[in-house]
Symmetry: C2
């Protein structure tokens, strides 16, 4: 018997569900309600169209209403907002956006894919400002692009250093606009930890983006031409992008009495069913489980929405499929840098009180003798007892997201850090080294688990030195001269074996080098000679970046 399925929201997960539903069955009636003009557009490409990297606006329209309707035999209705659900009658009230007319649409199953919308607090002066924008959809994009093209702004303020804020900062800067990026916390790109964000801060500044951390908007003055911050600072702005985060569009679900989570996301079970067995929900609007910790979380990213769209369609068609939680694997381009991450970060683990350990390594993306290689700052978080991988973060110029994808796959395969050295990854000089960066991170973690290496972290070392600890910098004198940790004594690695008598045996010796490798070798020499030696994980590079 054929079914009638109504999908609310025709972008990302909603569009995926619709296409999959049709592939499963030719007879079902599939209605897609989209309140905007466009369906299935390239949300993630919008900043790049504004920046001129993507030049063809049509390229953003992945599927058109007409094209997709025909290809998949769907009843797609754009400019049609689902305004209420009568769960008893199994009907949805649809309001035509242009006319305000309403009508009822019945369903056997409803799929809610409403997405999330930018958070815009009611700042003083905001209503009078015509130069403040948010970026969610094609009309937003057209507005911002027109403003840039026609008004030729000199100064832009971007509020919020998340994915959209960073991508907009880059794209506006690429258009020659002076950008000030304002972020309430002490770092951009919340998915990575503070010391990893240091590389991004540096890259932004090197590309002319002015970073204003630990500050936020207080008010918009002079019709938005000035942005007053909490600190009292006033920024001149020809245009302001508000990108402080998103909030699930869960009002429809809430009004229908469906269960919502603490942060306003629609609660769904492992089959993506809401508290009403005839209504599924997916995408940015739903609360998901953190794949690692099983705690509730919200992850407004494209991969989960897409995956969930498929699974909902399959589940409606009787397949016993489940969505097993979200790792939050993510990547962003920040000028010439790539930053990527998967799983839990250190902030999360600390907040949850999880027993974890972290290693920082800086292997080269590919053979150092082959041109174009660049160091990758790679951080791996794991359980020091079981070796379970909690998460990883990486920043660099080449091969960054590859390593995060490999680790994300290792997590799904329930591999531990002990398995990482065993990953047989492809090597030729343009692509990697015989020991891939992921192998290197695995070795570093394994050395700790097996008690072969003891480490200390970038944020602990100043206190240790202050309290009279011994810190040996095993780099060469030139490296030491060009920047060092206060209190460190320089004994190059090559000289260490001849200087053992100078070192105290009654207390631990902390050592460090530039990136961690020579420091590790030094700890092995010391340890094998009866000292207790502790290496600074990630070396001077991680230490010095953590405060950038």
């Amino acid at each position: 018997m054929s079914k009638k399925i109504v999908i609310v929201g025709g972008v990302a997960g909603g569009a995926t569900a619709a296409a999959r539903l049709r592939r499963m069955n030719e007879e079902d009636e599939i209605v897609v309600l989209e309140k905007g003009e466009y369906i299935s557009f390239a949300n993630c490409g919008l900043p790049y169209y504004i920046g001129g990297v993507i030049t063809n606006r049509d390229a953003l329209l992945v599927q058109t209403v007409e094209g997709m309707s025909k290809k998949f035999n769907l009843d797609i209705r754009n400019l049609s907002e689902a305004t209420s659900i009568d769960r008893e009658k199994k009907t949805i009230t649809v309001t035509k956006v242009e006319t305000g007319e309403t009508y009822e649409e019945s369903y056997d199953y409803a799929i809610l894919s409403p997405g999330a919308r930018p958070i815009v607090p009611p700042f003083e002066g905001l209503e009078e400002a015509e130069n403040v924008f948010t970026l969610r959809n094609i009309p937003d994009t057209d507005q911002i692009k027109a403003w840039v093209d026609e008004r030729k702004p000199h100064h832009a303020v971007v509020i919020g250093g998340g994915f959209i804020g960073l991508e907009m900062a880059e794209n506006l800067a690429e258009r020659g606009i002076h950008v000030q990026l304002v972020e309430l916390s002490d770092q951009v790109m919340a998915p990575v930890d503070r010391e990893m964000a240091g590389y991004l801060h540096e890259e932004l500044q090197n590309n002319g983006v002015e970073l204003i951390l630990q500050d936020g908007v207080d008010a918009f003055l002079d019709r938005g031409k000035k942005v007053k911050l909490n600190s009292g600072k006033e920024l001149v702005s020809d245009m302001t992008i508000m990108s402080i985060g998103v909030r699930p569009e869960s009002e429809l679900a809430k009004d229908a009495g469906l269960t919502l989570g603490e942060r306003g996301g629609i609660v769904v079970d492992e089959h993506l069913k809401t508290s009403d067995a005839s209504i599924y929900a997916l995408g940015d609007a739903v609360e998901v489980k953190d794949y690692i910790q099983n705690t509730p979380t919200m992850v407004p990213l494209a991969w989960p929405a897409n995956r969930q769209g498929r699974l909902v369609a399959d589940h409606i068609h009787g397949k016993n499929v489940s969505y097993n939680g979200t790792l939050g694997t993510a990547v962003a381009k920040i000028f010439d840098l790539t930053v990527a991450s998967t799983g839990n970060n250190e902030k999360t683990l600390r907040r949850l009180g999880v027993n974890y350990e972290a290693v920082h390594v800086h292997p080269a993306s590919n053979a150092t003798y082959y041109p174009g290689g660049a160091a990758i700052a790679l951080k791996l978080l794991f359980d020091p007892e079981t070796g379970q991988i909690f998460g990883a973060q990486a920043v660099g110029r080449k091969g960054v997201e590859k390593r995060i994808d490999v680790i994300a796959t290792a997590i799904k395969g329930k591999l531990t850090v002990e398995d990482l050295p065993d990953l047989e990854l492809s090597y030729a000089p343009p692509y990697s080294s015989a020991k891939d960066p992921v192998n290197v991170a695995g070795y570093a973690a394994l050395n700790i688990i097996e008690g072969e290496a003891e480490i200390v972290h970038h944020h602990e070392i100043d206190d240790i030195v202050r309290e009279g600890g011994t810190l040996i910098d095993v780099r060469e004198p030139e490296e030491f001269e060009s920047g060092n940790i206060v209190g460190a004594i320089n004994i190059p690695l090559g000289a260490l074996r001849n200087r053992l008598e100078d070192l105290p045996k009654n207390k631990p010796i902390h050592v460090h080098c530039q990136v961690g490798l020579r420091g590790y070798l030094a700890t092995r020499i010391l340890k094998n000679n009866g000292f207790r030696a502790i290496n600074l994980s990630g070396g001077y590079k991680t230490y010095s970046t953590a405060t950038k």
Copy 2:
């Protein structure tokens, strides 16, 4: 108690073992015997130095004898060949290469890391030819580079289309030399299957390399200035590179009575011990287990050698570690193309009589609306019953080896093709799509396992049409016009639902599109309307490339 460990061979795995042994223990006497002048050099970089991509010769010398001796407190002896082993006495006879002097060196443990040498059959005229080279080490490299720099050859012949042959063909071509590449089989790059090699053939030819397949050397004429092939063809040659393969340097092991495998590799157990408990062996000279099939094989690659070096050192120091077999994950750059593979290829599976299925997909490396993306030809081999992943191959211009590394990791994590759609991989427009190519391959395989899609392969379709089968090409008319399969009928996907009455219900309908996706959609429409529909895996692209 301290031990004395003698390592035969100071490159790759031997050097790794030496360094690791020292990290494990400061007291042991560690002797490294290397018959060549150089240790631990960048074997994989040699072609690129000849080609001028790597300009600094010193960069090839990853470790020098002096530097490494000092850094790791090792007794490294270059130009010192181990010429025999007395296993009773536990001594190795060492011959000084320059003087012929010999002496004996005792050991508690010996580690054999002799590598493999290029196979050079005794071709007629070879002895008189001074322009025929093999490439294994720094002196070979110096010779070839000097020849190119000084003699300025116009015509080069490369014999053998494996890694070294292809890299040399590219690097000689980059120096402006006309290259003819001669390969005995019907394809270059044996690790991938014939239809995947088609992309490489095309790329080589587009870059001026003349491909001569299914032909081999018969004799060298005129002091090597002519290369006569088995076909009778004679090639003018100013220089010839012999790169038809390598053979393990296992004579020392053989003479010492250690067990060798059928192909001449040193047989080792899972701890890399030879048939003598005091002698370990590793690298290109040993026989390993195929990770997937557990059959014996030889895989002369850098990753296994490096990994094994570490494991041998650890095992000597009492760690219960094992080497679990080799996947053979590999990658090569062929001009602007990248080709990568892991696990078993179709040729191997067929030879072993394994029940397998293959899918070919052609997803884009990253969002198609973002500049710089390019299709990846991705082939996935799997068990149609259990979903076990047997192997994967990929060719393209961007993001190729990333996908193979992800699949190699999935294999190590014992994930099946059913898990591939669930891999949460990083996405932003410059890097991937919301559905990553690996997810796409997983969906394609899963559709087959679940009976949702039936496929036919590129090598089967001509016979099917010849025997009266129905083949529908669902591409647009322009695409059909620009090249099609003989016997195919063009019904574009968008018109299919209106043309159902024209199609036979009493026999299977084969369909194809350009890359496989629209073909799959067509089979779903047909199947849901009561037809038996079979899609050509990989579409016209795979079909047409298979004969290139």
